[in-house]
Structure formats: structure tokens, C-alpha cells
């Protein structure tokens, strides 16, 4: 794995915005004093007149974006997931969700891989919060290629989109010719018959690593990259669950209300299946280097492998 190219999806976000700027002259980027961290500073440098720093006031930034959207703009609001979805929940619900305005939320620094900043800044609840808002689309890209495709897809569609990006540089796993991104369509990365592993975000790479290890043990795991959490690709979840009879979800998010919650809801209604939810187990994060934290929380390849092996 040492030679694999690694890029943080927040970086992909900043670059994707620049790449789309000429094609979409109504695209604007709003920040709340975190442009350097959210990587929208890349956009600010290229298009200073189209970057609006709102200061440390996320709720107002969200309302301003709503107002801009009513005037035909395509605003991206950028902040850490903790503030973009957490502090901001009610503003997103009432000022963007209820009127279904065309605002895109670029939430960086999601999950425990924020690292050293610790629990106050590690948002493991954002997917759960955003899922409850009617009409909200939620995308959690797994790498640089997918993050760029997701930003483009968000601009191309009308309505609110929550994009979840990470701080940590993660392996580029989708840089092949056959790659195609479609909102709401999960991607089968590996076919298998013994267990289905549905992963999202940086945990897709962990799931693939775990599946290789399982394969060596004679366990044929099917791996699905579920980049869109809402609307969930329910047909794919059910189809794979019927084939393998066992489902595991893997995410850098609370096991309550995120990918695991969404899959549990789908399976219990449409295809009751044994389910294991791997993620943050109803606890807060903590400080430490991101890679070490992923190890500790057993969300790296070895940890995911261990958890599945023990369960299966």
C-alpha cells in the first residue's frame, strides 16, 4: 500500500470547485473562516470575487446561501461537518431543506479522522442528522476521484446536497477507466457469496483490505461502495443480502442513524437479514493521530477484518 497515491477528499473538493467554476458562472463558495482548512482556499485564490467569507457565523452563512439560491446562485457552504451539519442543523432544515433550495453543503473534517483536535471537532453524527431532512441528498465519497465526481453531480442536480469530506489523505481507489459515478447507485467493487460488506467514505478502502484478508481465509465477501447514503440504493442492498445472507456496514460515523442505520431500516422492512454495524459505537471520539485513531476504533483494514472474522 506504500506506493498508493493518497489525497484528502477536502483537497479534492477545493480542486473540483475550481474545475467547475467556468462552466457554472453562478457557482459561489461561502466559508466561515475555515477556507484554509476546508481547502476552498484553492477556489478563493482562483476566483476571489466568487468566494465569500462570512466570518465565524455558520448559521448566518447558511441563511445567506439560502437567499443567494433564491436569486439563482449555486452556493456551496463550507465548514467542518461538526458545524455545517451539527451547529447548523435547524438552519439547514428550515432555510434550505424546507424550501428545497439549491444549496450544496461541503462538510469537511468529518468523523474521527480529524485526529488531534479531538471529540469536539470529530463529527460522527452528521449523516444521521442530515438523513432526517426530507429531500436532502447525502454523498460520502471514498477517494479523490469519487469526491470530484460527487461535486460535479451535486452542481448538476437541483436541490440541497450534503457532501461529506475528510481531513486525512486517503488512498485513491477509483482511478480506472470503468469508473462511473451515479447519485443513488452503489458500486459493487468485489463480488462474493458469503457476506456483504457495505462501506462508505474512507472505510471503503478498509473494507476492500478486509475482504482480501477474508478471501485468504476462504470467505468470499461481496464489497459495495455506498457513496450515496440518501437516497439509499435499496435494490442493491436487498439483492446482495439475498445472495449472501449476512450484511456488514462499515463507516466512520456513529452506528446510530448513518449508513448502518439506513441499511438496518431497509433490511428490516424488505429483507430481514443478520446485520453487523461497524463504526463508532455510540461514543465520542478522542485526540490522536488519525491513522492511530482508525486503528484504535478498528476502522482500518485490519480492524474491519478482525471484527467481521469474529462475527461471522
Amino acid at each position: 500500500m506504500a506506493d498508493v497515491k493518497k489525497i484528502a477528499t477536502r483537497e479534492s473538493y477545493g480542486n473540483a470547485l475550481v474545475a467547475l467554476a467556468e462552466e457554472y458562472p453562478n457557482l459561489l463558495v461561502l466559508d466561515a473562516d475555515l477556507a484554509a482548512a476546508t481547502k476552498t482556499s484553492i477556489f478563493r485564490k482562483a476566483y476571489p470575487d466568487r468566494h465569500i467569507d462570512c466570518g465565524i457565523a455558520e448559521c448566518n452563512m447558511t441563511g445567506i446561501a439560502a437567499g443567494l439560491a433564491t436569486c439563482g446562485k449555486i452556493p456551496f457552504i463550507s465548514s467542518f461537518a461538526m458545524f455545517a451539519a451539527g451547529r447548523n442543523f435547524e438552519q439547514v432544515r428550515n432555510s434550505i431543506g424546507y424550501p428545497h433550495l439549491n444549496v450544496k453543503i461541503g462538510a469537511t473534517h468529518a468523523g474521527i479522522s480529524v485526529g488531534e483536535d479531538g471529540a469536539t471537532h470529530q463529527c460522527n453524527e452528521d449523516i444521521a442528522l442530515m438523513r432526517t431532512i426530507p429531500g436532502m441528498t447525502i454523498i460520502v465519497p471514498s477517494d479523490d476521484v469519487e469526491a470530484k465526481a460527487a461535486v460535479r453531480a451535486a452542481v448538476e442536480m437541483d436541490g440541497p446536497v450534503y457532501l461529506r469530506f475528510g481531513r486525512l489523505a486517503v488512498p485513491v481507489i477509483n482511478d480506472h477507466d470503468g469508473y462511473k459515478f451515479e447519485v443513488g447507485k452503489g458500486v459493487v467493487l468485489k463480488e462474493g457469496t458469503d457476506v456483504t460488506i457495505i462501506a462508505t467514505g474512507l472505510c471503503v478502502a478498509s473494507a476492500m483490505e478486509a475482504a482480501e484478508k477474508l478471501e485468504a481465509d476462504g470467505i468470499h465477501a461481496e464489497v459495495i461502495n455506498m457513496h450515496t447514503i440518501k437516497p439509499l440504493d435499496e435494490d442493491l442492498v436487498v439483492k446482495s443480502a439475498k445472495k449472501t445472507g449476512k450484511v456488514v456496514t462499515v463507516e466512520e460515523h456513529s452506528v446510530i442513524g448513518g449508513l448502518g442505520g439506513a441499511v438496518a431500516e431497509t433490511l428490516s422492512a424488505k429483507c430481514p437479514t443478520l446485520l453487523k454495524r461497524i463504526g463508532v459505537q455510540d461514543r465520542f471520539g478522542e485526540s490522536g493521530p488519525a491513522v492511530k485513531l482508525l486503528e484504535k476504533f478498528e476502522l482500518d483494514g485490519a480492524g474491519v477484518y478482525k471484527q467481521i472474522k469474529e462475527w461471522i
Binding site: G55, C59, N60, I64, G67, A69, T70, N94, H100
Partner: protein
């Protein structure tokens, strides 16, 4: 329009408020009535709007940040021709486009959904910013309650508007002095309101009688002439204005009149209407 014409329209708008809230058996008459004259002035005199083309990109915008006074906005929009006045009794009924708080997707003429206090002003700031970016000369108006400005987001939005010199923005504070739990100075005093907006780089106009059309006219003229900074109009108003038993009473913040009270309220407003007719003759 002459002041007399404006007064007659305002009285019709007040009747629509009472009819709507009575029919809904719920709603917020007090703050709708206190703002009825400024609603009238905005939609019948000040704003560049066309009820037949409510989505015109060049129109002036209005955001009812104190969204609970939707009955006032609805009655104004209806009387201005956005939809039939006969629909006002559908307020808050199942399936009605006149939702309890304004919904821009449902109701013609509503520029922004609102109702969660403190949020409307931010949207208005966004609209004003879009106008500056696009170099358009439309103006944006937003109406806040004096209790509403206790919300922190109001000051986030004001800080931004002042810092960005959004002189196409007018923030109106309906200072009727009463919020749900009582007089605003007793609940959590926002006074001095004018000094606060001044500190946020607004041009501030103290309008000492929100029911005097000469003074309203002068205030909006001054706002229009103000360059380089947003304007805040802090207007002293009477909660429940026009309905005898609602005037100055916190009890009528969010309560509907029963049938008997409805008759008295309509009788009060009809008397005002008759007096205005005589004035005309």
C-alpha cells in the same frame, strides 16, 4: 397613493388578518396588526413588484423574518392581487397554501419561507448580496420582531450586512414592545435597539409612530437615499392596532378571537372604515 388611500388599504388588510385568524382558530393577530401599516406601505407604495409576475428576477424582495405574523403578509398579498382575498379563511387549514408560517413553494408572492426566528434576516442578506454581485438595483426588505432580535443569528447577519455595506437592504424592527412571555424589557431587554444597529454599521432611523404614513414615507425615503451602509428602521408600533381589545395586550400575541370577539373586532374595523369614507367625502 395618498395617505387616505393607504389608510383604507391598511384597514382592509387588518380585516383580512382578523378573518384569517378567526377562521384558523389560531395564529398571531397582535404582531400582524402592529405591522399592517408598514405591510401596506411596502406592497402598495415602496416596492417594485408585479403580482402577475411574482418571480421577476428584477423585483424588490421582502422576507418576513418574524414569520408568525404570516396573517399580515397573506392579507397584504391577497389585497395586492397575488391571490384571492376570499382564500384568506383557508389560513392554517389542511391542504391550504396559507400555511401557519410562510412557505415560498406554496404561496404566490412569498419570497422566502420563514418562521424560525432569526433566520429570515440572513436570507434577506443573501438576496441583497446577490443583487450586488449581479449589479442589479433591486432592494430587499425584511421585517423582524423586537423579541426576535434576541436571537444571536440576527446579529451575525447584521454584522455581515454592515461589513459588506449592503445599502440595498432595509431591516425593519417592529417595536411593539411585547413578546410571548411579556414586555420585552422584562423578558430579556434588547434595548437600546437603535444603538445596537448603529454599532453594527447600519444607518438607523427611529420611526416613532409606525401607524403614521407621513412618517413611514419619510423613513423609507431616507433609507432609499442612504448609500454605503444598510438601513435599520426601528418603528414604535402598537400591538393589536385597530382592534380595541387587542391593542397593547400581550394576550393577543398568538390567540384567535372567538365568534363573539370576532364580531367586536370586525365592528371596530368597520367603524374605522366608515370614518375613512367620511374623511374622503
Amino acid at each position: 397613493m395618498t395617505n387616505l388611500e393607504l389608510k383604507k388599504v391598511a384597514n382592509e388588510i387588518r380585516k383580512g388578518i382578523v378573518v384569517g385568524v378567526h377562521s384558523a382558530k389560531a395564529g398571531h393577530p397582535g404582531g400582524s396588526l402592529s405591522a399592517a401599516d408598514v405591510f401596506t406601505y411596502l406592497y402598495f407604495e415602496e416596492m417594485n413588484i408585479d403580482p402577475k409576475n411574482p418571480k421577476d428576477p428584477d423585483r424588490d424582495r421582502f422576507v418576513l423574518s418574524k414569520g408568525h405574523t404570516a396573517p399580515g403578509l397573506y392579507s397584504t398579498l391577497a389585497n395586492r392581487g397575488y391571490f384571492p382575498v376570499e382564500d384568506l379563511p383557508t389560513l392554517r387549514h389542511i391542504g391550504a397554501y396559507l400555511q401557519g408560517h410562510p412557505c415560498m413553494q406554496e404561496c404566490p408572492g412569498v419570497d422566502m419561507s420563514s418562521g424560525s426566528l432569526g433566520q429570515g434576516i440572513s436570507a434577506a442578506v443573501g438576496m441583497a448580496l446577490a443583487g450586488k454581485i449581479d449589479q442589479k438595483d433591486y432592494r430587499v426588505y425584511t421585517l423582524l420582531g423586537d423579541g426576535e432580535i434576541e436571537e444571536g443569528q440576527v446579529w451575525e447577519a447584521s454584522m455581515f450586512a454592515g461589513a459588506r455595506h449592503l445599502d440595498n437592504l432595509v431591516v425593519i424592527v417592529d417595536n411593539n414592545g411585547l413578546q410571548i412571555d411579556g414586555p420585552i424589557e422584562k423578558v430579556c431587554s434588547p434595548y437600546p435597539i437603535d444603538e445596537k444597529f448603529k454599532a453594527f454599521n447600519f444607518h438607523v432611523i427611529n420611526l416613532d409612530d409606525a401607524h403614521d404614513f407621513d412618517k413611514i414615507r419619510a423613513a423609507f425615503k431616507e433609507a432609499r437615499e442612504t448609500k454605503g451602509q444598510p438601513t435599520a428602521i426601528v418603528m414604535k408600533s402598537l400591538k393589536g392596532k385597530g382592534v380595541s381589545f387587542m391593542e397593547g395586550s400581550v394576550d393577543w400575541h398568538g390567540k384567535a378571537p372567538n365568534d363573539e370577539e370576532f364580531e367586536i373586532a370586525m365592528s371596530d374595523l368597520n367603524k374605522i372604515g366608515e370614518a375613512l369614507q367620511k374623511e374622503e367625502a
